[in-house]
Symmetry: C2
Subunit: 271 residues, 2 copies
């Protein structure tokens, strides 16, 4: 607890770990999905502030939330959830925390290092949020970090209204988790883009891969991925690996194919 924290009287609702009124900053995918999930559980959004006035107005109209013109309006809320890009956090968080306890939804930024008047923290829902696609929060893990134990309690209570999977997690571990999430989401998605491009260049439909894709992920619910590995690199079938490399025209994909085969062969002691 910093010197400043000590002299700011905690709001009564936060003292008992209860968040009644929420303010939202941002109007992107995370803000949209979080607002939908909160309202779905009957939680009131007191107001929304967005630097992008077009998308801010759109989300305000869609969810019937007052649009705040200035940050001062957050004086009346229990928690501000800032769903903003990592770049914006260092300037925005200390500013917002002048008016109310504030969290970001970032997986990577070490938020507690910033100056703060009110308590600050992290409310990180581990999911990929896409426009026009509903997301179920029920079993989606939410990770909490806070500058005071009281604020941590309040954030956990709030998170538990959305999901049964709520964990306190410090920044160093959250960064490792975010890295793992990049591997299984961002990189898997890019593999799908590369596969689609490669199929379409040969006039073959990407939809043929759908059952395979589903099973690839489903089987990991019962089998560790180490045991589920199949394919030419797993069985050290250099002939097929070389044939595939010769087939690939995209140079970035060629490098990835070579690197993956090397990594799989190393993992299974074929090197």
């Amino acid at each position: 607890m910093s010197f400043i924290d000590f002299f700011v009287l905690p709001r009564i609702s936060l003292t008992f770990g209860i968040v009644k009124k929420i303010g939202i900053v941002g109007s992107g995918n995370v803000a949209t999905h979080l607002v939908a999930a909160l309202q779905n559980k009957g939680i009131i959004i007191a107001g929304l502030y967005s630097r992008n006035s077009t998308s801010g107005k759109a989300i305000s109209a869609r969810f019937q939330i007052p649009l705040f013109e200035t940050m001062e309006a957050f004086n009346a809320v229990d928690v501000i959830i800032a769903c903003v890009s990592d770049d914006a956090i260092p300037v925005l968080i200390p500013e917002l925390a002048k008016y109310a306890p504030t969290v970001t939804t970032s997986g990577t930024v070490d938020v507690l290092a910033f100056q703060h008047t009110h308590p600050i923290g992290v409310f990180y829902p581990l999911q990929t949020f896409t426009k026009d696609r509903a997301v179920t929060f029920d079993q989606l893990p939410i990770f909490i970090e806070a500058s005071t134990p009281t604020f941590a309690d309040a954030l956990q209570t709030l998170a538990l209204k959305l999901s049964s999977e709520v964990h306190l997690l410090a920044a160093d571990k959250r960064k490792e988790l975010h890295l793992a999430a990049v591997l299984v989401n961002n990189f898997t998605n890019h593999l799908m883009t590369l596969a689609k491009n490669q199929l379409e260049a040969n006039h073959l439909p990407f939809s043929w891969l759908q059952p395979l894709l589903k099973e690839t992920v489903s089987k990991i619910e019962t089998i560790p991925p180490f045991d589920a590995q199949t394919g030419p690199a797993r069985r050290n079938d250099q002939q097929t690996i070389d044939a595939h490399i010769a087939l690939i025209k995209n140079d970035q994909l060629k490098q990835l194919y070579i690197q993956f085969s090397k990594s799989i062969q190393t993992t299974y002691n074929h090197d």
Copy 2:
């Protein structure tokens, strides 16, 4: 149709595109899943031949299929489905095709190039088959190639009993499809292994990534992967990319992370 094909009288059942009796070669995952799917549709497996006597006996006992001691026994079947490794195909297929029309389940091998007495071909179900895990064939695409139109008809009729997604596909296209399948299955699976290792080195459970993994694949049913891409490389956030690279201890993963970021940045014109 080769000179030899011409002098081999087609079996009556094949003339009408009907496969009544099937012989299976092999006793691995593909053989096991295919036998289960065929029996499930009431199709009779006349016999099974396997070089591995232990697993051959196991599958014979489990599915109540006669175990053939010699290949000559296949004289009485309409089709032999050889579920064997790519390495075994060049020797095995010409040998099996002395006794009955024969297919492999391989995605990569150019089967029609081999010598054959009876017709030969490919019966390639595009899926990842894992031990002790049931697979639904109903919508799983099956790709057919055959040395004669009559045999192609018979194979299509058989495949349609298992799945509604049956396509004729020549070897060159099948190889491209197999390459794409390696990307979305083998490489995605390896990313999961790397993510799991990296989480467990930090005492974090892999299960936290499950909802993310599911959504990563589910959203591709409605959104093209190009549009679904998110993450640091997509938004050209070099600071987070560098922070992740610094976190990674496994050198193979580090190289993959660098190569993926480069490929994503190139795809979205950030290079």
